[in-house]
């Protein structure tokens, strides 16, 4: 069973092919956001280098959020196109859970983050264990959009060291590390999105029967469009005014 995983949720454009036994191939470009131009040629090269054809893939995986709205859609539309053309199932993986899988061999709490702009981060908490021979992440704080202060408070309530990962650290790392004494970071190469990690999470979901088809697969933006937010705010204010 071969899984092709695509992740264009952040500045990293990455894809990997995984089966039950091994990571067969992976491509990672952590440079400039030109995902629309680069992702498909990268996948093409990766498949050619590993002697595979797209038709050899059994399940098409995609990282489905949170992250850059446009980036997420490039990955999702690509994965849906593959799955629809070849009549194959899909699997979707959280950006945050995939990040947490990067450092799964630990007893520390794992806090993956993705920059959400406006002084906020998308974040969640996971627990693994340091003897993890198999991936076994438990979600201990739900995915959400967090103000940095609120996240610090949540992390300080955790009764263990916390490894903070992801591009939320770029803007908010110094604040998080100063406000959370038990916080630490991981080396940069483990703190970024890697499709192999997402694929490992995806493989587990496939084994648990959590596949979807190309019509069902959806994105988990965790945030509405600003037009919707503004409209809801306005309607709420009007409703309050009428009371």
């Amino acid at each position: 069973m071969k899984l092709l995983m695509i992740d264009t949720s952040t500045i990293v454009a990455t894809a990997a092919v995984l089966d039950e036994d091994r990571l067969i191939a992976e491509t990672i470009v952590n440079y400039k956001k030109k995902h629309s131009e680069k992702m498909l040629p990268s996948i093409d090269h990766m498949l050619q280098d590993s002697g595979l054809k797209l038709g050899d893939i059994d399940v098409f995986g995609v990282v489905n959020g949170p992250g850059s709205f446009t980036g997420l859609r490039i990955g999702m539309a690509t994965a849906k196109g593959f799955a629809q053309a070849l009549g194959k199932p899909m699997v979707t993986v959280s950006t945050l859970e995939a990040l947490a899988a990067n450092v799964c061999v630990t007893d520390a709490a794992i806090c993956p983050t993705v920059d959400a702009q406006r002084g906020q981060v998308y974040a969640a908490l996971y627990q693994s264990d340091r003897d993890a021979a198999e991936l076994n992440l438990k979600n201990t704080m739900a995915e959400g959009v967090y103000d940095v202060d609120a996240l610090c408070e949540k992390l300080n309530a955790v009764n263990a060291p916390v490894i903070i990962l992801g591009d939320g650290l770029k803007k908010h790392g110094s604040k998080l590390l100063a406000a959370v004494p038990k916080a630490r970071t991981a080396p940069a190469f483990l703190s970024m999105n890697r499709a192999s990690s997402a694929a490992a999470v995806g493989l587990k979901k496939i084994q648990q029967g959590q596949t979807v088809d190309c019509f069902q697969a959806g994105l988990n933006y965790l945030r509405k469009s600003s037009a919707e937010e503004q409209r809801e705010k306005k309607l709420a204010q009007e409703a309050q005014h009428h009371e």
């Binding site: 030109k34 629309s36 131009e37 680069k38 498909l40 040629p41 093409d44 797209l54 038709g55 709205f69 446009t70 859609r73 490039i74 999702m76 539309a77 690509t78 994965a79 849906k80 196109g81 593959f82 629809q84 053309a85 070849l86 190309c214 019509f215 959806g218 994105l219 933006y221 469009s225 600003s226 037009a227 919707e228 409209r231």
Partner: protein, 341 residues
């Protein structure tokens, strides 16, 4: 040759299957108008979110309508621009993945050329050369389509597109989105001579357009009347505004046709659905002995059928795309400027 074509440049999610550039085997459009109406216009992020969820459905519906499978297709085409970048990217990413997975050629199509090609679907006998007036929410162009691969650009808008002016005037008059059809309908009931709005013709020999001054004139007139409590019928404002736009469009088209000795005239783009424009162009055709073409209403607004029609000619010209195809939001109508002919 059967081409699956995809269009997602604005708020229509569309897929079609076109044979040899001329025959519609399937034409599916999922319109998001109802979704965007409550915001008074297209919200790009919401449009993109809907595109990515609806796209597989319109593609499957197109296959079902044509009673074909993916294996029966010879190529995949997609609108590469112009349009909203996030919206375009959904179609482009989908088409690339489909073409790659099916091992078929990929054809990135210019949306404005697609509008012109809508007429190839409606009129089997229509072939270049002809003069085309392309008017839509994003574009206003006068172009000689010399052959399937060569456009000579005579004029383009220097500021707002005609359709853009329609949408803005509709909004200030309080008509719901999309404003163009509402203004057209209101104009039928109004007096086109009620208010004398400017007809901006620019330089004597220019075929370019400018509609931002007209738009401002309408806004100023309405503000003035509101301040001075001068009553007005909005049907009259709509009719007077529309008359000003149509005067310019018709006059410039007539001038071009005469200057270049062309009798075959094609009208394309969303505004070609405008009843007032059609009436004016019909009258001009009668007066000047034109063969006049405009697409049926269903092919005036954004659709994928027109993209599939254009894609056939792009393919014949060897204009296929690589796997690095990207969306180009500001894409212009390709062609040679008349000054350089």
């Amino acid at each position: 040759m059967k081409i699956l074509s995809i269009e997602s440049s604005c708020d229509e999610t569309a897929a079609a299957i076109i044979e040899n550039g001329r025959r519609i085997l399937a034409n599916q459009v999922y319109t998001q108008i109802a979704i965007h109406r409550k915001y008074g216009g297209v919200v790009p992020e919401i449009a993109s979110r809907n595109h990515v969820m609806k796209m597989p459905f319109v593609i499957q519906d197109a296959l079902d309508e044509a009673q074909l499978t993916f294996d029966d297709l010879d190529a995949v085409a997609v609108t590469k621009g112009p349009g909203l970048v996030g919206a375009l990217l959904v179609g482009v990413s989908t088409a690339k993945a489909l073409a790659y997975a099916l091992d078929k050629p990929l054809i990135g199509v210019n949306h404005i050329e697609g509008h012109i090609a809508a007429n190839y679907l409606a009129f089997p006998e229509l072939e270049p050369p002809f003069l085309a007036l392309v008017v839509s929410g994003g574009h206003t162009n006068l172009v000689i389509v010399k052959d399937y691969g060569t456009n000579i650009i005579l004029g383009r808008t220097r500021d707002d597109a005609a359709g853009e002016a329609f949408d803005k005037v509709a909004r200030v008059l309080g008509y719901p989105y999309p404003g163009g059809p509402a203004v057209d309908q209101a104009a039928q009931a109004g007096d086109p001579q009620a208010i004398d709005f400017p007809r901006v013709m620019l330089e004597k020999d220019s075929y370019d357009f400018s509609f931002s001054g007209l738009k401002s004139a309408v806004l100023n007139e309405l503000n003035h009347r509101k301040m001075k409590h001068i009553p007005y019928k909005r049907e009259d404002v709509a009719a007077s505004f529309q008359a000003a736009v149509l005067d310019v469009l018709t006059e410039k088209t007539i001038r071009c046709a005469e200057a270049y000795g062309l009798k075959k005239i094609v009208v394309a783009g969303g505004v070609s659905a405008n009843k007032g424009l059609r009436a004016r162009m019909d009258a001009a055709a009668k007066q000047h002995g034109w063969q006049l073409y405009y697409p049926p209403l269903s092919l005036c607004t954004d659709n994928a059928a027109m993209i599939g029609a254009r894609a056939y000619y792009d393919f014949k010209l060897g204009r296929t795309s690589g796997w690095d195809l990207n969306a180009v939001p500001g894409l212009e109508l390709p062609g040679i400027d008349r000054d350089r002919v």
